[in-house]
């Protein structure tokens, strides 16, 4: 009896506290933290640069079977395949001409995938094997590295002029990674290439 009475009496005065200010504050804080918190940690791309050759050393350039040279300028990208051939080549080969491509899927991406077909297919087979647990993870990584390093795999030289932006460069490296190109390096442009680039840019 006593307890019941006490309960009834307790009900009568307004038991509710006005929570509006508290809720206001809670939502204010919520909005603040939602807006200021940085969700994504920055991502990175690992890249190796070549060592500078000692001036006394006479390093022979490695033989490249499947080579591609990309020349970057502001938001535009030119390329040529194989080695650079000067006009009036003693062996009678046609002089190198620059061709233009772009950063779209049908541009650079397609070009790289076409040229690097053998390595990509090899890696696909390896991926299948890894999925079916036929090979171990470490073996898989090693085999992928080997596939990328094979002679038939694409080797890319990236050259930039003074107008190219960092974004252009990163876009190219990103495409190279997506196209499983393992051998790429950034080098300085040769004067002859620069001449060709100037002609191209001047024409349009």
């Amino acid at each position: 009896m006593d307890i019941r009475k006490a309960k009834k009496r307790g009900k009568k005065p307004s038991a509710r506290i006005d929570m509006t200010p508290m809720v206001d504050l809670a939502f204010l804080l919520l909005t603040f933290f939602v807006l200021t918190s940085t969700f994504s940690k920055p991502k990175t791309m690992e890249i190796n640069y070549p060592a500078k050759p000692e001036p006394t050393e006479n390093v022979k350039p490695p033989e490249v079977k499947n080579g591609l040279t990309l020349i970057l300028t502001k938001d535009r990208i030119f390329y040529y395949k194989g080695e650079f051939i000067l006009p009036n080549d003693p062996k009678g080969r046609p002089a190198t001409q620059l061709e233009e491509t772009d950063f779209s899927i049908n541009g650079l991406h397609k070009l790289l995938v076409d040229l690097n077909k053998s390595a990509i297919e090899e890696i696909k087979v390896l991926e299948e094997k890894a999925k079916r647990k036929e090979i171990q993870d470490t073996t898989f990584k090693r085999l992928v590295m080997e596939a990328k390093g094979k002679k038939e795999a694409l080797t890319v030289l990236i050259k930039t002029d003074d107008q190219a932006t960092y974004k252009n460069f990163i876009d190219v490296v990103d495409e190279l990674n997506l196209a499983m190109v393992g051998k790429y390096v950034t080098v300085d442009m040769m004067p002859q290439e620069y001449e060709l680039l100037k002609q191209k840019l001047g024409n349009q």
Partner: protein
């Protein structure tokens, strides 16, 4: 009887679950939030499909859109030692307060001779202060020296920690120091190349280029 209950609809909404949820979210965001460190310049890195995280232990050179280099070290111990060596080399004196202030900076981009004045400023003043970045030319190769000393000190700290862990037979979790480069989308590649050449001069060839994640699936 049903009529009675219809007559008395509760005048105030029960906010308890909503408030519970709001506070839960507040607590969650408060605990998980890591604040963006104040940077002297805004750098908007380009996007990529790479999903590698930035390593914990790094030496960073940021390059803003106009090509000015900024320098930072993540490891506090290595940072303090690097500062001492640079101060000694350039014969610059800093007070304890200024040193503490230096430790708070994530990156900085001033000539070491301006450093005492720069450290005395408030954050707002620093934002407005026009700097030319850390000097990086053959006559005044401060950036190279910062990188060189930082690399030596960071490696020393790393090895020391490794030894200490070995002696105590503890797990060793620290990462090897890495070299990160952060540049704006609009930065000219030649400015980035200049910084990279500074690194390769002291025989550092491997970098982590900072990008923001573009998301989306891989292009097929």
């Amino acid at each position: 009887m049903p009529k009675v209950s219809l007559k008395k609809p509760s005048p105030s909404l029960d906010m308890t679950p909503m408030v519970d949820l709001a506070f839960l979210l507040v607590t969650f965001f408060m605990l998980t939030a890591s604040f963006r460190e104040a940077e002297p310049v805004v750098i908007d890195p380009p996007g990529s499909h790479s999903d590698k995280l930035l390593p914990e232990n790094y030496i960073l050179v940021s390059i803003d859109a106009s090509g000015r280099p900024f320098f930072g070290i993540s490891n506090a111990q290595a940072k303090a030692k690097t500062l001492e060596r640079m101060l000694q080399k350039y014969n610059v004196q800093l007070t304890e307060k200024q040193k503490r202030e230096f430790m708070k900076l994530s990156v900085f981009g001033v000539d070491i001779k301006e450093l005492p004045r720069y450290l005395d400023m408030t954050d707002a003043e620093r934002q407005k202060y026009k700097t030319a970045g850390v000097p990086n030319d053959s006559l005044n190769p401060q950036l190279k020296e910062w990188i060189l000393y930082a690399a030596q000190e960071a490696n020393a700290v790393y090895l020391e920690a490794k030894e200490a862990a070995k002696r105590k037979r503890q797990d060793f979790k620290m990462e090897k120091p890495r070299y990160a480069i952060k540049a704006d989308q609009k930065t000219k590649y030649i400015s980035v190349k200049k910084v990279i050449d500074t690194f390769t001069d002291i025989k550092i060839y491997r970098f982590n280029l900072i990008t923001s994640y573009e998301g989306g699936s891989k292009k097929e």
